[in-house]
């Protein structure tokens, strides 16, 4: 035994028992209208093991659900039957899970076993007394001049129908821009209605916007979504402000696309100016940007002859989108500072290593030459 002490011996240090599991459907939704409700859901199970699969039910509605099987050996199907009595009276969303998982073998002694459990949802919506609406809105980013189609999802969760006149208010960062009105209609109890309305963005400026959907039915139901209107532009978000004098110096520029499309060939031409006189210029790396993406591009220049002090940098970013070219320019202040002590030590360390390696090689060569010479003498 090791003198230091063998204090733990983990016999099997492995993760095994890899497992895949699939269940369909992943979710079922039912509306309860006060009458006895009976629904049967057929489930399919996809599994890559011959081990038994166990099925159980949990959640608020568990007592109202019966399973055709609670263990699957060779079968890959089972069903769950929901029986909700007429006197069930919990309004709102009531949820149960049909839980499908691999039966864990109690005799397995893997260090770490992995297993998968799928919980398929069963939702039952019981109407609230009176009128009750749920509202959601979706929108997407576009470029200037392209239409945006807003999708409204209106669900009546009350036991009374509601007369609705949905509207969508459009806000820019400075305030309300316009309101879109949808046709008035009646939505029945427990009905779900999907509506769409198109916004023409002609005349809109590029930027960040918000759409607020509202339905006033005595109570105000609201939902909102953010969206962006883009144009072929790149914003310069940040850049290297402090640079060290001496050697090859990196200059980083952080850019962000303002376009809802791919931008190709984006790079920056950077000119370093000292009292308006050009003292250096260089190009950064070239990159492409996915819609609204933020990226760093970097260029290098020789700052050997620079002295400490304030300079300025003219940054011109060039790019292409849909075969059209554009550019963004700005002039920024930068500062050249003395090389840090850490950098000096870095060079000293690198120099020392090179010296050590070179001297070692030279020593080996000398030893070899010495042996060769003296070896020949002995043979004489």
């Amino acid at each position: 035994m090791n003198k230091k002490g063998v204090v733990i011996l983990l016999l099997v240090l492995c993760i095994g028992n890899v497992f895949a599991l699939g269940v369909s459907p992943g979710k079922k939704t039912f509306n309860f209208d006060g009458a006895y409700l009976e629904e049967t859901i057929d489930y399919g199970v996809r599994v890559d093991t011959d081990k038994p699969i166990v099925v159980r039910v949990e959640g608020d509605l568990a007592e109202y659900i019966t399973l055709s099987r609670t263990e699957l050996v060779d079968e890959r199907f089972f069903s769950a039957t929901l029986r909700l009595p007429a006197n069930f009276s919990t309004p709102g969303q009531n949820r149960a899970f049909v839980v499908v998982s691999e039966q864990v073998d109690p005799e397995r002694a893997d260090f770490i076993s992995t297993t998968v459990t799928i919980k398929s949802i069963i939702d039952v919506y019981v109407p609230y007394p009176g009128r009750y609406l749920e509202l959601e809105i979706e929108g997407v980013d576009v470029n200037v001049g392209e239409p945006i189609e807003f999708l409204l999802d209106v669900v009546s969760r009350g036991d009374e129908g509601v007369s609705i006149t949905p509207e969508i208010q459009i806000y820019s960062e400075t305030g309300k821009v316009e309101t879109l009105y949808l046709t008035s209609r009646i939505i029945a109890s427990q009905e779900e209605m999907k509506l769409k309305k198109t916004l023409d963005t002609a005349g809109y400026n590029p930027g960040n916007y918000k759409a607020v959907a509202a339905i006033d039915y005595g109570v105000l139901a609201e939902a909102e979504t953010d969206f962006r209107i883009g144009n072929l532009s790149i914003a310069i978000l940040n850049y290297t402000r402090d640079l060290e004098v001496g050697g090859l110096v990196p200059f980083k520029v952080i850019i962000q696309s303002g376009w809802n499309d791919i931008i190709d060939g984006a790079y920056a031409d950077v000119t370093i100016l000292n009292n308006s006189l050009e003292v250096a210029s260089f190009k950064t790396t070239t990159t492409s940007l996915s819609p609204w993406e933020e990226k760093e591009i970097v260029g290098y220049f020789d700052a050997t002859n620079f002295s400490e002090g304030n300079y300025s940098a003219q940054i011109d970013v060039y790019y292409f989108g849909r075969s059209a070219g554009s550019s963004t320019s700005t002039t920024v202040d930068i500062v050249f500072i003395a090389q840090s002590i850490l950098s000096y030590w870095y060079y000293v360390l690198i120099g020392g290593i090179i010296l050590f390696v070179v001297s070692g090689i030279a020593r080996l060569i000398l030893i070899k030459l010495y042996k060769k010479k003296h070896g020949k003498k002995k043979r004489k």
């Binding site: 090791n2 230091k4 002490g5 063998v6 204090v7 733990i8 011996l9 983990l10 016999l11 099997v12 240090l13 492995c14 993760i15 095994g16 890899v18 497992f19 895949a20 599991l21 699939g22 269940v23 369909s24 459907p25 992943g26 979710k27 399919g44 996809r46 890559d48 899970f97 998982s101 864990v104 397995r108 002694a109 893997d110 260090f111 770490i112 076993s113 992995t114 297993t115 998968v116 459990t117 799928i118 919980k119 398929s120 949802i121």
Partner: protein, 227 residues
Amino acid sequence: MDEQGPMMPGDGTTKVLMAIAVIAVVVAAGNLFFNFLTLQSTGYANVDTGQADVQIESAINIRFNVNSLDWGAGFVNGSINAVLDTQTSPYFNENWSFNLADNPTTNSLAGGLEIENYGNAVVDLYLNSSEDVNDFICSADATCTAASPGFEWQSEEIEDSCDATLAATTWTTVTSDLTGDGLLMCDAFDNQVGSNELEVDLRLTVPISAPSGARTTIITATAIEST
């Protein structure tokens, strides 16, 4: 000179067969033309419509893609805790010695657990361990549990596979939730190919006082369709 060649046996039969073939081709061409006219006159091919009602149900499919993480058998060789992980080669520190006869192929450890959502729905993904750190590493031994054992995980999304909040992005003590589903690792685990995988690294800190013997725990990934 005779223009015709010598008569060959069976020439009469050949002519008969050729005549039949020519007639068959003519009849077939006529039939084709007639069918064409019929279809044109009825307009049947142009106006035929059908309706197919198909409802595609959601399918939740989850799997662990890594089939082995093997550190082999080993022991703590000093007075300081040994650390084993799935993140940094060689995946154990100098305080861990493994049995040379059971020298593991540690390459398999790189990346840790890999979980894939290959269904057609975005899911909430929970991870849970059947044993907590004290039970798993120390078997509830008091001396060992006082010596800072560790059983941790760290998650990493692949190509923005978690569309919402990814938990445990730094080393986090493994959750052992005996009544629930454990840690909500990602509340919108994507199912799009190329961005539907999560990596979960593991790190074990084994004190010198950890009792000898094999350890067992079960890591369960639970998936629920995102709502």
